[in-house]
Amino acid sequence: MDAVLSVAAVILVVLGLLVLTIAVLGIYRMPDVYMEIQATAKGAALGIVALALAALLLGDGPTIARAILIVVFLLITAPLSSHALVRAAYRDDEPMYRGDEEDASGSSG
């Protein structure tokens, strides 16, 4: 039972790190602000949820309660803050990526 728990915790930690890395990479690679927000909003929150679940598997009573609190709070607030950010970007007339550069196939869009 203990071995199963720690294997699951290892998998969750690696998964959380991977998703967090993708989220941070998304800020750099995406062509406009809206895509950056959609890459980060999901990625960062889900990565931390995976890490918190790992802490939940490894920890005792108080740790479990606090980890559940953090998971619920993040799952509620991550969409709200990304929505507010997108609205701010839209009202600020941030340029949208049109995708009109030609790719290797020669077609646009």
Binding site: S6, A9, V10, V13, V14, G16, L17, L20, T21, A23, V24, I27, Y28, V33, E36, I37, T40, A44, A45, G47, I48, L51, A52, A54, A55, L58, G59, D60, P62, T63, R66, A67, L69, I70, F73, L74, T77, L80, S81, A84, L85, R87, A88, A89, Y90, R91, D92, E94
Partner: protein
Amino acid sequence: MDTLIDVALVWLVVLLGVCAVRVVSARSTVSRILALETLVLVLIGLLVLFSASRNVSYFLDAAFMLAILGFVATLAAARWWGRGRVFG
């Protein structure tokens, strides 16, 4: 297990540095707010992992307060930049 968590902590600190670079070099203000929010989220992940490795729960209190602060700060900054006032 301990080695994995140590490597994970170092990796999260690297991600923290990458986010800090982005805060400075962002193209627009919204992008900068987003980078700051991501930085706070990576810091929360660091605290959660630290609490799991040391088996103490009070780092999770700090992580939760940081989550609340980051959410309110992002909301206030986005509303201020988007419509010129925070409330209403």
